[in-house]
Symmetry: C2
Subunit: 186 residues, 2 copies
DNA sequence: ATTTTCCCGTGACCTGTATCACACCAAAAC
DNA sequence: GTTTTGGTGTGATACAGGTCACGGGAAAAT
């Protein structure tokens, strides 16, 4: 079964025809390590689904430091939601940590697809709810947990991440410096 | 026009009949300052809309310190989304900072309403998207901004808040101690 | 009216984390 | 193979913000 179908069917059931229709709204794209799919200032009109590889979305502050909002690995969706939903210029960057294979859907195609297939509207609505809950928990974690606790929680939830991405990126996701993270876990 | 109707019509247009139908799915409730609408451990099956007053949703850590996730004032929705959506026991508390008048809808009624009125499904979907974007920006702000910067951004975005709620709650929302906040803005 | 609680500023001190600087090593680029 | 780049650990030092403690005044409770 196509991995995207498997992914969608975790939330809604599909017939063969429905999935064919869904897939026809996507385009495949390959990107190599260090290549961008979103750069700050752009208008983002695509949402990406990761078939293979690993990406990061982040902002860059005035001092040039990166702050990671999200990683994207197999079966994850990634884009700048603010730009994608509100049609505003992007504040974030997304690039590949590894060579990656992606499927993307344009805003227009997503609108078409949700209009004609109510299941997909429900699918994305659920995704949005879960994404919101995850972000809510991340806010709470940033408010109440120490760097060490945040690290342990991340390790527990996404152990694969620690095998794949450099620790300085983990540090940037957790909101601590590379050096501090290194000292916390000798 | 009913304030709830005005609120909903900011995102989707309604006929009189549609709004009557919507309103019939809600119940009014009054709560006094210090009263809870959600307490940790409960199963939350209601979403609240604030007609009048002010509330806060927060977690309590092991040391007893409160960390504020969200304030709710007029025209805001408030509940524990994680518990409400996933049907898990609540990790958060919600209580009134002022005497408040609320309208609530149960999970069941919300399901009924979204099933029979597609507009409301779209309304809540949009709300969810915007909520997610707001949380995303809050995460980024916690990662990249100092306490002072976070304060200034909050003041800019929600000046009313500073007129209504004690500064210690603002501090708790920003993720700094009351004393530090007091020193930052003498 | 009196008492109690809460709000808020402020001093003294402590601690977690940032920053800067350097060194080592592995992996990528040439 | 050699060079360059990037990832990681570690020391020294600086600082933002936390914690504890106190007091005064406003607001709520009695």
């Amino acid at each position: 079964m196509h991995p995207l179908r498997k992914h969608i069917e975790e939330l809604v059931e599909l017939t063969d025809e429905e999935f064919d229709c869904i897939l026809s709204h996507f385009e495949p794209i390959k990107k190599r390590k260090h290549q961008y799919i979103v750069q700050g200032g752009e208008h983002v009109d695509k949402e990406y689904w990761v078939l293979k590889g690993c990406l990061k979305s982040y902002v860059v502050d005035e001092s040039g430091k990166e702050h990671i909002l999200q990683f994207g690995m197999e079966n994850w969706w990634i884009t700048d939601y603010e730009s994608f939903i509100k049609h505003t210029p992007s504040k974030i960057y997304i690039d590949c940590i590894e060579d990656s294979e992606l499927l993307y859907i344009t805003y227009e195609n997503r609108e078409k697809l949700t209009a004609q297939m109510h299941k997909m509207e429900r699918f994305w609505a659920k995704k949005s709810k879960f994404g919101r809950i995850a972000l809510q928990n991340r806010v709470l974690s940033l408010l109440k947990n120490s760097a060490k606790e945040r690290h342990d929680l991340l390790l527990e939830e996404y152990p694969q991440l620690f095998q794949r991405v450099p620790k300085k990126l983990i540090a940037s996701y957790l909101g601590v410096s590379r050096e501090t993270l290194s000292r916390l876990f000798p």
